[in-house]
Amino acid sequence: MATTNKKESLRGMFFMWALLTAIGLVISVYAPSRLMPRSMSDNMHLTILTIIVFSVAAAPVAAGVYAVALHALRHWIHRGDDVPAPASEQTREHATLTVSWVLASTLLTVFLLIWGLGALAVDNGGNGANPLVVNVTGQQWLWTFSYPGSNVQSPTLVLPEGRTVDFHITALDVTHGFWIANMGVQVDANVGTTTELHTTPNQLGQFDVRCTQFCGLNHAFMVTTGTVVTPAQFSTWLATQAKAQKA
């Protein structure tokens, strides 16, 4: 390869990298919130934000590898059945490159870790005062929600907006996975153990509860809907249910 081509060809690689990075950034920012279920809690908001941040961080890295690979396919390929001559540069080591590669990937990993551990702390925190306790029981193949303090049991989940909910989750037969797809939280429902989960709904409207742990024949149909209502509507609903279930 003539030396005159060197700079030119690497410039092409750089432009390819910039183009691919730009495409990656557009996808990173645009895609997650449009593909994922509507966010109805801070946890879900944080999840989507984290996906965007990680994608933005990953885009230039992926674009770099792809740019080199595409460049190799355009400029360094030897076609035909005859064996190519040995490459002009028989490089075995490049200390600077190796060290900077390790440093760069370490720094990137440290950034992801710091973000991730911070996000985890935020995700686990945010427990508001006076949380609403909801007992969740999974069994093949339905969910039952009960509201301690009242005698209400319901196959659908009704939650008040703006109040932290503490879920106490267990299972009767096999392990199920309790997941609120719009709130970015899930934990298994285990037999003989209670697991806990908390989140604060911040949007009114409907959401889905799906089982994420394979639980037998009708696993695909272990779905129920939930609704986030205003605190006033919630009190009314709870009172009506309590009366109806007493009767």
């Binding site: 390869m1 593909l35 994922m36 944080l46 999840t47 984290t50 990680f54 994608s55 990953a58 890295v61 992926a62 590898v65 792809y66 080199v68 190799a72 396919l73 360094w76 030897h78 076609r79 064996v83 190519p84 001559a85 040995p86 490459a87 002009s88 540069e89 028989q90 490089t91 075995r92 080591e93 490049h94 190796t98 590669w101 990937s105 990137l108 990993t109 992801l112 870790l113 991730g116 996000a119 985890l120 935020v122 995700d123 392990t175 996975g177 970015g184 899930q186 298994d188 697991t195 889905d208 799906r210 994420t212 742990q213 394979f214 639980c215 037998g216 024949l217 696993h219 695909a220 779905v223």
Partner: protein, 620 residues
Amino acid sequence: MTTTLEHATQAPAKGGGLARRQNFITAMIGGVVFAWLGWFLAHHFLDSSSRSYSDLVTTSLTIGWIFGFWLGIGALNGPGRWLIGADHTRADDLYYAGENQGRARYWKYCTDHKVVGVQYIVMTAVLLGAGGILAMAIRTELIVPGNHFVNQQIYNGFVAVHGMLMILALIVAVAGPWANFVVPIMCGARDMAFPRLNALSLWTLVGAAGLLLSVLAVGSLTMGWVVLAPISDQAGIGMDFFAMSIVVFTVSTTVAGVNTICTVMTMRTKGMTLARLPIFVWGSMIAAALGLYAFPYFSLVEAQTLMDRNFSTSFFVAGGGGTGWLQANLFWLMGHPEVYVILIPAVAALFEIASVMSRKPVFSYRTAIAGMTGLAALSILVWAHHMFTTGWAPTLGGPFMLTTELISIPTGLFFLVIIGTLWRGNIWMKQPTLWLFGFIFNFIIAGITGIYLSDIPIDNQLHGTMFVTAHFHYVFVGSVLFGAIAALAFWYPKVTGRFLDETMGRISFWLVFLGVQVTFLSMFISGLKGMPRRYSSYSLIFEHANVLTTLGAYMIMAGMLVLLGAVVRSWSHGEPAGPNPWHANSLEWLVPTPPPLENFDVLPVITEDPYNYREELVQA
């Protein structure tokens, strides 16, 4: 035993009685007869009203199967003769190495590492084929919502057995054929350190595969390939078949792993220092060592499951003092290292291919070794990321997130090595190279989506969804399978003396490559939209993504069928390749094709590593 230097000239001994008539057929007969015996004894002596009666009968039957299979194939002949003081003679050893037996040796308990390698290719194809047919059935069921191609029970079974077959297929896909066929030659050895154990590992795998395939015939197993406790309690006797097949399979992997390590450590020829080893030998050895750590957990967890079912031991039964979390921990203590047992040989083969094809040394050879070793070491500390959402030990979330994200550093080194090797190379565009570039594209996607899942806030949303399924299919199909096919295309001429058909190979590549993108990118979308895994049916919002996934899956199947056609056709009709078609310098290319029994007339002496692509060596 086969390291003696004098070359045998005596004719193979005649006769030899029953022991020399043993082959796959007698193994099947032995297996079936002893399985029947196991069933008969258990059935006759056990109380049929007991709760675990059907499990005990099944376990007895499966033990009978594997014992009979070993007896029938001749696995016990050598140890038996040694025990009574009538050890194999040199003539016996040559007979068992398949000398002058033509194609018949491929059906026998053959100790020649090259025969075992070819047998592993066939076993991989059988397991991949069976798993692939199930994948097609799964995707056909899911092509539109509410489709009823098969009933739900059968569908759930297909999902589980597909997973089990494919995991086994990929564990052996690179290490099986190539750690056996080429690694001993690469080291300059006449065979593996323990040729009989080599045959044992292969035929034990065949026995285990028999048990695993039987799962479909005995009412299936519908609980996903991990079969977590306590739902495993609800499984029928398919669970006993599966658990026993894994216990048997781990015997095979252990024997094979010990053999690979001992071969590399003790059988290298003069001058073949560790620093001159081809990088694929390093990869095979590191993966084998990791397998020795990981698979005992697999054996243990399935043996405990068997004991719970057969003897009411309640290791994993919540009501009896056990816990399903113990089962999950043991399973993933195996399950995560196993991913790298599968991945590392494929990556190591691609290092080799990148070097030979671009006519440059492996870039930063020591970094490649450090990357593989680091990955193996880290992989034993990350298992609980599979359990982030189980509720087990939430305080360990942070630490396991840390170890998991550290994985991206050694993985990044793989890219450094491959990119650095290709950099300004004269890259020969042949089939292995094509699959290498496909691997680069897919492995980036696999790696990045893995980082999302290692992050707990994201995992709390995406765990248990199709996003996870898409991620690990980019690892297993997009990366490992691509590496395995590249390795096949690369070493195929050494096995058969012919090239793998280039046109068919390229058609196959494009079908599989595009198929993988269509299938698994759309699967990421259904996962992000919120579709859980292992669903037999789904709501309308997931329809578009699923239609695409199914169409992509058909493309992959079409591509794999073309590849199968190429492999079968080229075996006898391919373009002749000569002993060193890629003009490589590692020892397997410097012996004749096909390599003779015991590989070398005179053992070579090594003075440098195989990556000096100087003009004079290229003549070879």
